[in-house]
Symmetry: C2
Subunit: 730 residues, 2 copies
């Protein structure tokens, strides 16, 4: 029975990739629409590809340079595990590949979705959603494939030994696989976030506000960049973000499982494989769920939403059930507790997602209050939104806090010092939350496809019927985007937590590799490094919360989150200003554009957003990478852990605040546009538009980028643990 | 020689109160101006007093109720030290008294400052500044008197013993003296912050924006409430905030000194008295500094600023010098290191204050960039301000982080496990920062007096010469307010840190009072409770950063700061909406008001602001008080420490962000009003006005209230340590 379990994960990889391929081919065969539609689709696709090729060029240089540094560190100085340079490149490569496939699919799918919308809602939904599913399945397929391949390879080439430290060593070296994925996520999420909002704000400020032409008007030079931005930010950025969380959670669970059960080799191997097998089950269940998403034309928007919800919910329920079977089938001790931890993770994802929807949907009080306050002008609308965003941190933090307590407590019998099983439980909660990523990401990536399809319908001047259908799809996309954002933040927090916990395991292996046998705890208490508990390490490195290094680390972590946010928000401001100048220039120098007789120079706007994104992402990226390295060099291991936890707590709360405030302003504006509080062009609407513009960099740049920051800092800390141990000041 | 040192502090108290009395009488003797000026002054004073009497009524009920609860806890259940009910009332009473005197002085001084401004700038500065000094000296005089009196009394009535635990017990019971001061600060700072901005936003939105009458126009029904608000927020609120920091830092230093040197009774007593003696020196130096502040009429604004700066700087330099003498004179071991820690605190206060000025003054790039971005409309102005505010967290956090490292490291020889001397060093740094509060608070309280004097000149229709002079005073007041805000935040952070550190000493005494002799550290290692080190306590309570209770505590702490901010920001929104309704109602029902023939009903607006402030402060207050109690009951000591540090790190960064973003928007607006980027009534100006209104609750309500939150949570934790130990779940 158990040997059968081992085949689930590889099988799931093949199924995911096969399914993605099928959906892709089916989508390609669909009618791409008339000439105008195809032309717009081509422009957006070319823009997206020009962005990707520019970004991948920058990435290639950075990756090769860093790989060289890692090679010196690992093979020359022995400060790193030997696999780092290779797994680093692999992680980046596969994440980039997933992003490329997702973008290709999304940009090819939008005109076809638009065309399908001319005949029926159900047909349009099917194309858009299955194209989103390509992204979802490619991400989980490639992610899981990588995890499995590198584990298999390193396990094979490492000399066998009955020692429990062997698997701990293998799984901790695997963690560095996330380094590449993390850096690629940084490029995709931060760069993409800057790109999309620079284009959006620039297009709106000159187009809608100054010139008074409608949104998605082909006369606006930035309109193509704006449509490209939806793909760049919400498809490639979100995909890379979750690719990293997905791999990170599985790898952290493997490392913590190896550590928790290092005393008995068989159980240890089962604990390492369990997260991979559960992830495999999640992939298969996601595929099942994806096939269940259909909608009759008569069902309308509510029907669409329930169709998506049904698929996601069933995949989640199925996961909880099968995970129970897997954990018991593998014969893990305390399987019930571990199963409870995993179920807690699944529930956490749903609650955090729903709480985001509550905070940002115009069906609930918070967003309605912002719309009402907009009647008092922009200032009161913005004050109300800031209040809503800050208050909305309560439910997600309380949920994640409770999840940590339960996920740690259930496997350890609420013995809070039994860190081994407890930390493994937290990592399993993260795995549970992310296992059905195939379908949750499909719901997410579907949004920008529907959005772009709507833009295509508008720009090609198709009839109002098609527009009404794409509007229904798009409105739904906004709801799934809100829950998706909450989900991405929640999963990033849990994954980062699991990564921080595995940092200590990396420290253990680094000490062993340096030939250190004993941990001296003072008063003659020497404990073998291989046997030392988490508490022993905490004592040895003085990681108590009142030690100055830890205190300073926590303060620095909070500061890093704020400074990073400030930099990304400013980056959008700067890049948008460049876009505004360019659009104004084109209107001024070529008046025929506004008359509609000469097409504007779309490519220049695409280039400006691309270059702006690449340039402006440097500072936040450098901060995220240098903070853990410098803190480690000055304050040592204790300071680094302080930094990570301080950054995690502040970054998590900040990310929710930014995402929800931005989402609530957006929907308050839409609520007013739907005819409330004076409707479109009223004073309240103008106030709400200002709120929405303020919220753009909040919700689509800074907020999601914080997900990357908290994971990236943990990964960089893991990667530079050897350097911290060798050279730190304290 | 040393016995002489003991007289410094009582002498300083007498000198401070005598000086304050003299300044008050001299101010009263000054010419109160013509009938119109006196009438306006009377209206503002009556409004202020009606606010105070309403607030003190609410306070009286709350304090008596809580004192009864404390009496049951302390005298009935034995869960508290016996002095709590009495010291609690004393702390609240004296803080309230200081606030009352400050408000009386400020409201009496404004018309006299306005009158003096009709003849000369130097005369106006002297009246305004010396009246501000009344507040500064009363706060330090009453604060230090209380500390001395209760220490003397409890020391006398406690049976003598050669045991080092005796003084530890006395000093930790004294910490609860801060409870009353802390609760009063909550009422004054949060309530005052809501009051002032509800009045300000309400007056501006209807008066300036809708009706188009100028600021400080007597036809505006909310104008008196607005002027009252300046006193309520910036005099009473700031005073109560710093009264608490001042007492808290001295008491925490005493408790940590008693703990650090408990092995040798003589040294221990010296370490307990040192902070009080240094505070006494600070008071005397402040008085000297206050007498040095003068300005010739020809000097202008730059001359004024340098006059204030000179006084403050000399007091600080004098403090560092005399503190060195005191520490050496008392024969404290490692006096050089302790002196270094104190000097670090003095420098930290200055750097944090200056960094606030850099972030918010139109003489520097950040604020200028906001002004420039305002040309792109309100959205870009607000995005730029958010960016500036977030980035401005870097210098204060890095400064405080470095200060913690040095203040801990210098006395302990950078042995980061030698917590005793290290934590005493951190507390001494806080004392150093706050010792010259007499003059720094004088510079602060001077601001609203000058502001109100300007309002008085405007409303009484005095000549342009007087207006120009009060404008110069007011502009200076804005600069000192900016540095003052930074100083208040920085000192709150250091004080809170010292309070958190003394929390462990309170736990020690609670354990001893429960008859606990030994701390069992596992593996047969039992350590006498009285001898246990900080590290032992951290180990015993499992306060390592990866223990789930601590992790959850840190997450909850960050969330508390965000939710508290959301509540206070929303409170202003709600109270301002009520004010807007009232002003509109008066204009609508009595059209003669706008014609200037019938005076509006000022009292109703004052009442609305007062009631709004009292009602809206309940929710944030409850959060601040319940968070540590509930966390303690569920997660125990480890969770509480996590909560405090999480709240401290996020709250500190948030407070700086909010204060600096608000200050920068304010000054960007003023910069545009001075004729840049189109000047007054241009599009950029309108955008900047919206930014300024958004910033109002940021900088004057939420930001300063966070100072209270982080200190209050520590104090509540200290007060409920017995309950946490007795009843916590984990």
């Amino acid at each position: 029975m158990t040997s059968l379990l081992y085949w689930i994960a590889p099988l799931a990889v093949l199924a995911a990739l096969a399914c993605a391929g099928t959906f892709f081919v089916l989508m390609l065969r669909a009618d791409p629409g008339n000439q105008a539609m195809q032309r717009i689709g081509r422009l957006v696709r070319e823009g997206a590809m020009s962005y990707l090729s520019q970004q991948y060029r920058v990435m290639l240089v950075s990756f090769l340079g860093l790989a060289a540094v890692f090679a010196v560190l690992a093979w020359g100085l022995g400060l790193q595990n030997d696999w780092l340079p290779i797994t680093f490149l692999a992680g980046g490569l596969f994440s980039a590949l997933a992003g490329y496939v997702g973008m290709q699919t999304a940009t090819l799918a939008s005109p076809r979705t638009a065309q399908a919308a001319r005949t029926s809602l159900a047909a349009a939904l099917t194309i858009a959603f299955r194209s989103g599913a390509v992204m979802g399945l490619v991400v989980v397929g490639l992610g899981l494939a990588n995890v499995l391949f590198w584990f298999w390879l390193i396990d094979r080439v490492t000399p066998p030994s009955a020692d429990g430290a062997r698997l701990v060593m293998i799984t901790t070296s695997l963690l560095t696989f996330s380094v590449g994925a993390s850096l690629q996520a940084l490029f995709a999420r931060v760069g993409g976030g800057i790109y999309t909002k620079a284009a959006d704000v620039g297009a709106d400020l000159v187009g809608k506000v100054e010139t008074g032409i409608p949104e998605d008007d082909l006369r606006n030079p930035a309109v193509i960049a704006d449509n490209v931005g939806d793909n760049v930010g919400d498809v490639a950025g979100m995909g890379a973000d979750l690719f990293e969380s997905y791999c990170g959670s599985i790898l952290a669970a493997a490392a913590l499982g190896a550590a928790a059960f290092h005393a008995s080799p068989d159980v240890q191997r089962a604990a390492v494989l369990a997260p991979m097998i559960i992830a495999g089950c999640g992939v298969l269940l996601s595929i099942l769920g994806i096939f269940m998403v259909r909608s009759g034309d008569e069902a309308g928007q509510a029907g669409l939403l329930s169709a998506l919800g049904r698929g996601t919910l069933l995949a989640a329920i199925g996961l909880v059930a099968t995970a129970g079977l897997v954990l018991h089938g593998l014969g893990l001790p305390g399987a019930w507790g571990l199963w409870g931890a995993l179920a807690v993770g699944v529930a956490t994802g749903m609650i955090v997602g729903r709480s985001t929807e509550y905070a940002t949907s115009a069906r609930y009080r918070p967003t309605l209050r912002i719309a009402e306050r907009a009647t008092g002008g922009p200032a009161t609308a913005i004050i109300a939104g800031v209040g809503v965003g800050m208050l909305s941190t309560a439910i997600p933090v309380l949920t994640v806090g409770t999840a940590v307590l339960l996920a740690f407590g259930l496997p350890s019998g609420f013995d809070m010092t039994a860190a081994g099983a407890g930390l493994y439980g937290i990592a399993l909660a993260a795995v549970g939350m992310l296992a059905t990523l195939g379908i949750t990401l499909a719901c997410d990536a579907y949004g920008p496809i529907a959005d772009n399809a709507g833009g295509n319908v508008e720009m090609s001047g198709l009839g109002p019927e098609a527009r009404a259908r794409t509007d229904a799809l798009d409105a739904l996309g906004n709801t799934t985007a809100a829950t998706g954002k909450g989900f991405a933040i929640g999963s990033a927090a849990l994954t980062a937590l699991a990564l921080v916990a595995s940092y200590v395991e990396v420290i253990r292996i680094e000490l062993i590799e340096r030939g250190r046998q004993w941990l001296e705890l003072g008063q003659g208490r020497d404990i073998p490094v291989a046997e030392a508990s988490l508490g022993d390490f905490m004592l040895y490195f003085d990681v108590n919360l009142l030690a100055p290094q830890v205190l300073i680390g926590v303060l620095l972590g909070a500061m890093t989150a704020f400074v990073f946010t400030g930099l990304t928000v400013q980056a959008v401001g700067k890049a948008a200003a460049a876009m505004v100048d360019e659009v104004r220039r084109q209107f001024r120098e070529t008046p025929e554009i506004l008359a509609g007789t000469t097409p504007p120079d779309y490519a220049r706007c695409v280039t400006i957003s691309t270059i702006g994104a690449q340039r402006e992402m440097i500072a936040p990226a450098v901060i995220g990478i240098l903070a853990p390295i410098l803190t480690g060099l000055v304050l040592g291991v204790a300071g680094v852990i302080g930094l990570l936890i301080g950054g995690l707590s502040s970054g998590f709360a900040l990310a929710i605040f930014l995402s929800n405030a931005g989402g609530a302003w957006d929907n308050a504006k839409k609520h007013i546009e739907a005819g409330h509080f004076g409707g479109k062009n009223s004073a309240a609407w103008r106030a709400a538009v200002i709120g929405d513009t303020v919220g753009d960099p909040f919700k689509d740049t800074a907020g999601p980028s914080l997900n990357i920051l908290i994971k990236l800092m943990s990964i960089v800390a893991i990667m530079t643990a050897g350097i911290t141990l060798a050279w730190s000041l304290f």
